[in-house]
Symmetry: C2
Subunit: 235 residues, 2 copies
C-alpha cells in the first residue's frame, strides 16, 4: 500500500508539504486519484485528490480507519546517542520496524555525543513508520540529561541495562512480569557510570541484563526493542 | 581486553599479516609485550612478542584457553543479500554481536543482488568477532542458489520465513521445540516466490513467521538471530 503523511483539516485531508511535493511532482498524482493518508496518530484516511497543489495537496475524506496499524503495547527506549550518528539512525529505523512508541536520547556521564539535531532522525522516523505500515509516529524527545530523566520515570516500569557490578535480572523475565509496555534505558559506548546506576536504583529503576553477549549501544537498544516484541507475541 | 587474530605455528603463535601491522606499526608493540591472540576456532593464546616483524609478528605460547568465547548453540542464517550492501554489512556486524555460527547468502528468484564480493564481509566478520569477544569466527558461505541450498538442509532443522499465504508457526515456538541450533532462511526485498516456498516445504523445511510486523530483509534476519539468543537464555 502506498502511504502518504498528512492531517485532517475540516472535511478534507491535507498532505504535508514534503508529501504534497512527492505525490504531485514525483509521482505525478492528479485530481481524482485515490490516496491513502495517515496522520501518525492512528488514523488512516482514504480519499481522492481535489487539489493537486505541489505544496498543499488536498484530498476528500471518503473513509477513515481509526487505530490503524497501532502497536499493541507501548515501548519506550531511552538511549545515549552513539558517537557515530549512522549507528543511531540505523537503530531508529530498525526500532520503528519492530515496534516502538517513544525514544528519549539520554545525555550521560560517559556520553561522547553531547548535541543532537533531531531533523534527520525525524525524517527517518517518518519514512520507517510509512515503510513498515505503522499507524503511529513514535515520539522523539529532546536530548535529556540522565538525572532529569530518572526523576520523570515514576509512571512506567523502567529498567536500566548495565554491564558493571550489581543486581540485574534478564529483561525478558522482567517483561514476562510487567508486560512489554515498559521503558528500557541503554547507556553510551562507555556504559552508565556506577554513580548513574546507583542513582537509577535509588529512583526505583530496576537493573536488567540482555544476556552476557557484549553488544554495542545500538545493538543493545535494538535487542531491548525486539525483546518487547517477542515477549508480547509469546504471551 | 585487546585481542589479536592469529594462528598457532609449532610452539609459537603468529599474528596474521594485517594484525602484525596493526600491533607493530599502529600500536607500536615490541618484543616482550604481552598479547592475547585468538584463532577464530575457540582458542585464546597468551604470550609475549619474540619477533615484532610488521608482517609476521610472533609471540611465545605461554597460555592457551580452549573453547574460549564459544557460542552455546549453533545458529545458521541463510539470507538473500540486500540490494544495498550497507544493509547486509550492518546485519553481519549485529548478527555476530548477538551470536551466529554460519551465514549463507542466498540467490533467490526475486534477488536484486546476484553477485557478492566476500572480502569486505569477511573483514566485518573478523572485526565484529573481536569487538564482541567471540572466540569463533562465523562461517561465511558463497552465494548459494536457493534450490541447491534447500537440498543440502537435511541435517539441521531448517525454517523459512515467508510473508505470503501458507502454514507458518512463530519462530520462537519452533525454537522452544528444537532449541536455538537451527537454520533460518530469510528472503530478499521481494520475499521468496510462492514456488520457492512450496519447494522448501517439499524439502522438509518448515514455514515460520517473525510476527506480523513488516520488516526489511536485514531486520528480519537480525530478528531471527536475536530470537535464537533469547530462546536460548530463557531456557
Amino acid at each position: 500500500m502506498q502511504l502518504f503523511y498528512g492531517y485532517k483539516e475540516g472535511d478534507r485531508v491535507m498532505l504535508s508539504e514534503d508529501e504534497s511535493k512527492h505525490a504531485v511532482k514525483v509521482l505525478r498524482k492528479s485530481v481524482g486519484d485515490e490516496l491513502n493518508v495517515f496522520d501518525g496518530k492512528g488514523n488512516l484516511y482514504t480519499g481522492r485528490i481535489i487539489d493537486n497543489h505541489p505544496k498543499h495537496c488536498g484530498i476528500t475524506l471518503d473513509k477513515v480507519e481509526e487505530n490503524w496499524g497501532a502497536l499493541p503495547y507501548s515501548f519506550h527506549l531511552a538511549i545515549a546517542p552513539t558517537k557515530n550518528m549512522d549507528r543511531l539512525e540505523w537503530l531508529v529505523e530498525k526500532a520503528v520496524e519492530i515496534g516502538i512508541s517513544r525514544i528519549t536520547p539520554l545525555l550521560c556521564e560517559h556520553s561522547e555525543r553531547k548535541v543532537l539535531k533531531p531533523a534527520r532522525l525525524e525524517r527517518i522516523l517518518l519514512s520507517a513508520t510509512k515503510q513498515s505500515l505503522k499507524g503511529t509516529l513514535p515520539q522523539l524527545d529532546e536530548l535529556t540529561p540522565f538525572k532529569e530523566f530518572i526523576q520523570q520515570q515514576n509512571a512506567t516500569p523502567t529498567f536500566i541495562g548495565y554491564c558493571g557490578e550489581g543486581t540485574k535480572t534478564p529483561l525478558h523475565m522482567k517483561m514476562r512480569e510487567h508486560g512489554s509496555s515498559v521503558c528500557v534505558m541503554i547507556g553510551p559506548e562507555g556504559d552508565f557510570s556506577p554513580t548513574e546506576f546507583e542513582a537509577a536504583l535509588k529512583a526505583g529503576i530496576q537493573g536488567i541484563t540482555l544476556g552476557d553477549q557484549r553488544m554495542r549501544t545500538e545493538t543493545a537498544g535494538l535487542a531491548a526493542v525486539h525483546t518487547a516484541h517477542l515477549v508480547h507475541i509469546s504471551q
